[in-house]
């Protein structure tokens, strides 16, 4: 052994490098050098760039930030060099552009990724999910009315969002969303806020299980973010369904499941959906109402009809894809629910995805009642102003024009149409609706002018649902608006642009290293994408490597 001839680590020693193609060469280095600097030295002797080099010594892959000494490397020992061409990180940085989550979205990670208490998440989630559900979300009150009155414009808006997978993906990629989805308590409390839902969940442990399992929620989100995955999931669900159907008694089982789960669920939601002007009190009204509106139903249908065509006869047709706009309401209900009650987890997830997530903001919106913000807005002067504003379409128009330098409304004719529709305005001015609307009006205004179209939509959505947060604390709301939205927002100026991700995610990076993800750059990318969530980052890394 050569232990003795290099007792002094600072003196240069000779190291043999053995390439995977069999060629050999030697380099001189000091043993206290880091692996990264050693790679630089190696790169002078061969054609492999440092970041493509994989060095192996004694069966271990050398990590860039370690010293050669720490691996016990000594003079005349041999280090194996492999060109790491197969790693996506090394192949090209732009790879990430092809991946579902674009890094651009993620650079705006919130200032302190570890500061994810429930309130913060709540606010943030309101933003993210609001964006996801777009249509209904900016105006919880409006969606409610829409649910009752069947305003077609809303439908279109929903559809527009849902037909834009990029936007959906961006929204779902927002770090805040991922944080939220990892917080089962929050999700749970959202579900549990509704007594009717709670009852259903109590009666159906399967459903409760799904709602309590953050990984399922996350998976659902993953699916929503990745069209291929989603398709695959839906295919699985469909297959499972038809298998069940074709087995004896299977059909009856499906029907029972439907009756046990779907109907009460639907009732729970549509009942208050029809009472409508205050959907906030019943998050699920908005949920299913919009759900139907968004993708399942003929736009002319409204939640009440959906409730009625949710008759206990499940579909006999080939199972439709609930994400498909063309599917009929009844059928979609069938597909959506059954898996929720079913035992198969994956279909369950898909079903849940179909059920809920894009519309989650409605559930958040549901907490509005207790909101102190509302109280503030109940100030008579404010009320009067709003009344004036809302009863005058032109004025409204103008205001919205002002609010909207980036042309969200201009480019989104549905919103404009909707706002110009006198009937709609009338409904808007109904006191209850007004109350809802006011909740979002205020935060809406400062935000809107700053953001581009996509951000704008997210932003509005976020603020709409943002009114929820007051019952979690006003300051959290403010945080959400400034940090959460900004951070989650797509390239919106970040509160901490100057802290390099290496520093911000130092702990997480070392954790990843421990787990065997040695490519720091890729790790950083994954961490920024997941706002420092190691778990999510690992999943991301694993997913990427396969491609």
């Amino acid at each position: 052994m050569a232990a003795d001839d290099c007792a002094d680590a600072s003196s240069a020693v000779t190291i043999n490098i053995r390439c995977s193609n069999g060629s050999k060469f030697t380099v001189q280095t000091t043993l206290d050098a880091t692996v990264a600097s050693f790679k630089l030295i190696v790169s002078r002797n061969c054609a492999v760039q440092p970041d493509l080099q994989r060095l192996i010594y004694k069966g271990r892959i050398l990590k860039d930030d370690q010293t050669l000494e720490s691996y016990g490397l000594e003079a005349d020992h041999t280090v194996h060099l492999v060109r790491g061409a197969s790693s996506p990180a090394s192949s090209t940085p732009p790879t990430s552009a092809n991946l579902p989550a674009s890094t651009g979205v993620n650079t705006g990670a919130t200032e302190n990724p570890t500061n994810t208490n429930a309130a913060g998440q709540g606010g943030a989630e309101a933003g993210g999910l609001g964006g996801a559900g777009l249509g209904g979300s900016p105006f919880p009150g409006l969606s409610g009315m829409f649910g009752g009155g069947g305003l077609q414009e809303m439908n279109n808006m929903h559809q527009q969002l849902l037909q834009n997978p990029n936007m959906m993906r961006d929204i779902l990629n927002m770090p805040v969303m991922q944080n939220i989805m990892n917080n089962p308590d929050l999700m749970r409390s959202m579900f549990m806020n509704n007594p009717q839902t709670r009852e259903i969940i109590d009666r159906n442990p399967d459903l409760a299980h799904i709602l309590n399992d953050p990984s399922i929620l996350r998976q659902t989100l993953e699916a929503a973010r990745n069209p291929e995955l989603m398709r695959e999931m839906m295919r699985n669900t469909d297959r499972a369904m038809s298998n069940i159907e074709s087995s004896p008694e299977g059909f009856n089982m499906l029907r029972r499941m439907y009756e046990n789960v779907q109907e009460p669920f639907l009732n729970a939601t549509t009942m208050s959906g029809d009472s409508a002007t205050d959907p906030g009190s019943n998050p699920f009204a908005a949920l299913l109402g919009n759900q139907g509106a968004a993708r399942a139903r003929d736009p002319s249908q409204n939640p009440s009809t959906e409730g009625s065509d949710g008759s206990p006869i499940p579909n006999t047709n080939p199972l439709p894809n609930p994400w498909n706009n063309a599917a009929g309401g009844g059928q979609t209900n069938g597909t959506r629910t059954t898996p929720v009650g079913g035992d198969a987890r994956t279909p369950g997830i898909a079903g849940l995805g179909g059920l809920g997530f894009p519309d989650m903001e409605q559930m958040l919106g549901g907490n509005q009642d207790s909101s102190p913000l509302n109280r503030m807005l109940e100030n008579p002067v404010m009320m009067q102003m709003m009344q004036n504003l809302l009863s005058n379409p032109q004025y409204m128009n103008q205001i919205l024009g002002n609010l909207d330098p980036s042309g969200m409304l201009g480019s989104n004719t549905q919103i404009r149409e909707m706002l110009q529709n006198p009937q709609f305005i009338q409904q808007l001015t109904s006191p209850a609706a007004l109350q809802q609307l006011r909740g979002l009006q205020q935060p809406f205004s400062p935000l809107a002018p700053q953001q581009g179209q996509a951000q704008n939509q997210t932003g509005t959505a976020g603020t709409g649902t943002g009114t929820v947060t007051p019952n979690m604390g006003m300051d959290m709301l403010m945080n959400m608006l400034s940090g959460g939205l900004g951070g989650g927002g797509l390239g919106v100026p970040n509160t901490t642009p100057n802290v390099p991700p290496e520093q911000r995610y130092a702990t997480q990076l070392s954790q990843l290293q421990e787990m065997g993800f040695f490519d720091t750059q890729e790790n950083i990318r994954a961490l920024s994408a997941t706002s420092g969530n190691v778990h999510a980052a690992v999943e991301r890394l694993l997913g990427n490597l396969g491609q």
Partner: protein
């Protein structure tokens, strides 16, 4: 030490020290790398090995890490060999990454002269075997 057959029987420690040096210096085949996990373990039981995926196979360019455990009866008995990196090979248990001796000749018919280097190079050969060459592989960089 002289065995019954007249051959020199190298004691366990010497044998492992020899292997350690070969691993560190890349003596021999040189296409595999291995070394001790814990330099302070006087029994030299726990080892890490690396196989660089052979060319012309689906494993090309990948780096597979393995754990080898040489119990005190080594080299009379073969070490246990477990893949740390996920891999799809017929002789590797899909859930644990264990190389199953029954399906891997060199462990099944272990001889005293065999070394960990033998194991690693044979596993490498196994990767290019016709029944393994085309198997779909899990993502690079994932672990059991």
């Amino acid at each position: 030490m002289v065995g019954g057959s007249g051959e020199v029987v190298v004691p366990r420690n010497f044998r492992l020290l020899e292997e350690l040096e070969r691993g560190e210096k890349g003596i021999g085949d040189g296409t595999v790398s291995y070394g001790m996990d814990d330099g302070d373990d006087i029994y030299m039981r726990s080892w890490t090995g690396t196989i660089i995926g052979p060319r012309g196979s689906i494993h090309d360019g990948r780096i597979y890490q393995l754990k080898l455990f040489c119990d005190k009866d080594y080299p009379e008995r073969p070490p246990t060999v477990r893949f740390h990196s996920r891999i799809n090979l017929t002789c590797v248990n899909h859930n644990t990454g264990m190389v199953e001796p029954k399906k891997f000749n060199i462990l099944e018919n272990w001889q005293r002269e065999y070394t960990m280097e033998h194991i690693l190079t044979h596993l490498k050969k196994e990767m290019t075997a016709s029944h393994n060459r085309k198997l779909a592989q899990p993502p690079d960089g994932s672990f059991f």
